[in-house]
């Protein structure tokens, strides 16, 4: 696919003037958008299940994608402060030179922006927020107008996109190029007013408003996590306070959170993904985390890029899945943590939105990260000693091999399941993917996506949206929900203790699908002990605290 194919006619000229590297990023982005278009087409025409060729094509495309990424990396000698390692690099502003007047900006599928009550730009997912002051001022004017007239905050607007005469201010310009007519989604605009800031989402992704609102909420939480509610005082002092100065360098973090709203299962379903680990080993690890007691430590965590290994925390420290996600995402995104031990303030918005806690972060192996959350700003050296203790424990041969094995092997893979529970190789079993969501612990067990038959990004996205829809839409209390769409079928089994979401191929019949679901649920339930992660209490060791108290006196 070339740039000119994906772009509208008008934008080609500007496109050519830009830097080649940026162009590559744009192409990748356009490709993703293009995939969305195709996704919509597929859903419309009810394309039958993926053929082998399609799967192979998907794999080939993935390979190309990886190639391109590695090329980008090797070519990436640009030392601008926002570009970094591979994961972070995904979330640099994909369109830093766009503004709200450009057709390419208007064509983007999901916008999120933030501005202050004075109409000052704070953040925009795409484009240069500084160049869009007039746009933000207009949006702010609409909000105040509605507020004055009906005494009510503006919540959402919907605009018809298909009709040429729709009244939405974000309506796309009519374009002669039929490809650029865009996906058939209706344009939705959602507004979320939080203190001095207004969060706006303009989307044509067809996600329900409740889901978009959830994503805006998460973005708001991310803001709090960076700056705490203290930011409101700065606005109280001066309404025209420029917040962007304080957000310097956080663009990738904010964009990654928006991205996660669609792509990260823990965010989509609202839970924690634990690393499956034999309970004996998990207990031992928890003991090592508890064993190095440092006063004022609220929580110790051990986690990898996408799964949590162990949490040991004080009872009074409430850590919900949203805070945990924000924290692990923050660590995952900042490659600087891999270079050395770090100590940084971090606000857990659900626990206490108005204060920072202090977090010690250090990678104990290449993939495993250890973090201590402390209430004290001067506890670094004690925590660094505690880390040495945990590190030496994890180096013990039995522990190390056990942990390495758990990291290497995804025991949740469909292939690893018993035959009766839908286990088997691709093609042998109708089961493609599943999520087991434990309601009490708010934890979810699920094989990683990315292997065939869910190899392509668009396919993954559709499955994720399917799960999301199943979990949010009301089905009148039905315990088994069923949805056939295009190339696959999703079933949700809702019970008192757990939900099971499963993706099957499109030709599976209801009877055998439900039978597999039952077996699968039973199988996982029987193995819960070694799959789910109990939350361990961090008890204060009275002797240590007494000594610590003496030391501080």
């Amino acid at each position: 696919m070339t740039v000119s194919e994906a772009e509208g006619e008008g934008a080609v000229g500007e496109e050519q003037k830009r830097e080649p590297e940026e162009l590559a990023a744009r192409v990748a982005e356009e490709e993703e958008e293009d995939a969305d278009v195709r996704e919509a087409e597929m859903a419309d025409t009810g394309t039958p299940r993926l053929t082998r060729e399609e799967v192979e094509q998907g794999i080939a495309r993935m390979d190309q994608h990886v190639d391109r990424e590695s090329r980008d990396q090797s070519a990436g000698t640009d030392a601008s402060s926002s570009s970094g390692g591979s994961y972070q690099k995904q979330f640099v502003n994909k369109a830093p030179n766009e503004d709200s007047t450009m057709p390419s900006w208007r064509r983007r599928k999901k916008h999120m922006f933030v501005f202050s009550n004075a109409g000052k730009p704070v953040f925009s997912r795409y484009g240069d927020e500084q160049m869009m002051s007039t746009f933000f001022a207009a949006a702010q004017a609409i909000i105040s107008f509605v507020g004055d007239k009906w005494g009510d905050g503006l919540l959402s607007m919907e605009g018809g996109l298909r009709g040429p005469g729709g009244g939405s201010p974000w309506k796309r310009k009519a374009n002669r190029d039929s490809r650029a007519q865009g996906p058939p989604g209706k344009l939705k605009a959602l507004f979320l007013e939080k203190g001095p800031l207004t969060f706006v989402c303009v989307s044509r992704t067809d996600e329900p408003a409740s889901v978009l609102r959830h994503q805006l909420d998460l973005l708001h939480s991310q803001f709090i996590s960076i700056l705490t509610l203290g930011i409101e005082r700065a606005f109280a002092r001066s309404a025209s306070f420029d917040m962007r100065k304080l957000l310097n360098g956080t663009g990738p973090l904010l964009r990654s959170v928006i991205h996660s709203g669609t792509w990260d299962l823990p965010v989509v379903l609202g839970g924690v993904a634990p690393l499956p680990l034999e309970i004996g080993l998990r207990k031992q690890i928890a003991q090592s985390l508890q064993g190095c007691f440092v006063p004022d430590v609220m929580c110790s965590l051990l986690f990898t890029a996408d799964r949590v290994i162990c949490i040991s925390k004080r009872k009074r420290f409430k850590l919900n899945h949203k805070d945990l996600f924000l924290f692990t995402n923050f660590v995952r995104l900042n490659d600087s943590f891999k270079q050395s031990e770090s100590f940084t303030p971090f606000c857990f918005p659900s626990f206490n939105p108005s204060a920072f806690l202090y977090v010690y972060v250090s990678y104990v192996t290449e993939d495993v990260c250890l973090a201590f959350v402390s209430g004290r700003a001067d506890s670094f050296h004690e925590l660094a000693e505690a880390k040495v203790f945990v590190e030496s424990f994890l180096r013990q041969p039995t522990v190390r091999t056990g942990l390495e094995q758990a990291l290497r092997e995804d025991t949740l893979k469909v292939r690893e399941l018993p035959m009766s529970a839908g286990g088997g190789f691709v093609g042998e079993t109708p089961l493609w993917h599943y999520v087991y969501y434990h309601k009490g612990l708010q934890q979810l067990l699920s094989p990683r996506m990315g292997a065939p038959p869910l190899a392509t990004r668009e396919c993954q996205k559709r499955v994720l949206r399917g799960y999301q829809e199943m979990s949010t839409a009301s089905y009148d209390g039905m315990t088994v929900r069923w949805r056939r769409s295009g190339s696959f079928t999703i079933i949700a089994c809702i019970s008192l203790d757990f939900d099971l979401y499963a993706t099957f191929d499109s030709i599976v019949d209801a009877g055998s699908a439900v039978r597999i679901c039952n077996q699968l649920a039973q199988y996982i339930h029987s193995k819960e002990r070694d799959l789910l992660m109990p939350v361990f209490q961090l008890k204060s060791n009275t002797r240590t605290t007494a000594a610590a108290r003496r030391a501080t006196l």
């Binding site: 601008s80 970094g84 705490t228 203290g230 600087s336 891999k338 303030p345 920072f356 004290r376 001067d378």
Partner: protein, 212 residues
């Protein structure tokens, strides 16, 4: 520096934070660690974001240069033993702070109790030099009197883009009783000199710091 927000978190434990990261145990100046016996020199790097503080530290400690810059979050800690000309060894404990505005109010945590500070600017950026001056003033006002400050102009390999003249920086450093070094983390030019120039002040400092 309107970082009111981060103060919100600190206000609660404000008094504790003032002690700095030694936990209040070791006095200003070089402390002697109880276990190893090797004198420890607490040092802090300050400066605007993107001037290359982390790159300088990585070059010094690991001899590496990574062109893909990784933004420091909060502060990173590294220690590195250095042999002094008088054949004794000291351990540099280096706090590499984040340059972003929102972390500015945390800086006291790291410079309190530090015996040395490197204030880094980018020779291609006037703005970063202004920021460096700001840090000098803050240290003169709030840090220990004996703190050794080195003014470091990084990215000396980018001579063609120079925006801050060496003379201007040198004059400013002399005015304020600091050493001035122009270095490049990329080419390793003068990087060890930064630490040597700090080490040159060490014997005096250690003797003064110890009795406390």
């Amino acid at each position: 520096m309107g970082c009111a927000n981060s103060k919100a978190g600190q206000a609660r434990q404000g008094t504790k934070a003032v002690k700095g990261l030694d936990g209040g145990s070791s006095a200003s100046g070089g402390g002697r660690s109880a276990a190893g016996g090797m004198p420890r020199i607490k040092m802090v790097l300050l400066g605007d974001s993107g001037v290359g503080k982390s790159c300088l530290v990585l070059r010094f400690v690991r001899g590496q240069f990574d062109p893909s810059s990784k933004v420091t979050v909060g502060a990173a800690f590294m220690s590195h033993p250095v042999a002094l000309p008088d054949s004794s060894t000291v351990k540099f404990e280096i706090w590499d702070t984040a340059g972003q505005e929102r972390y500015a109010s945390l800086a006291p945590l790291y410079y309190r109790g530090a015996s040395a500070a490197a204030i880094v600017y980018d020779i291609t950026s006037k703005e970063s030099f202004a920021k460096a001056k700001h840090w000098v003033k803050e240290l003169q006002k709030n840090a220990s009197q004996e703190i050794v400050i080195v003014l470091v102009g990084n990215k000396s390999d980018l001579e063609q883009d120079r925006d801050v003249s060496a003379e201007e920086a040198k004059a400013y450093a002399e005015e304020n009783g600091m050493e001035h070094v122009e270095a490049s983390a990329k080419t390793a030019h003068n990087v060890s000199e930064i630490f040597e120039s700090i080490a040159a002040h060490l014997p005096r400092m250690l003797n003064q710091g110890e009795p406390k």
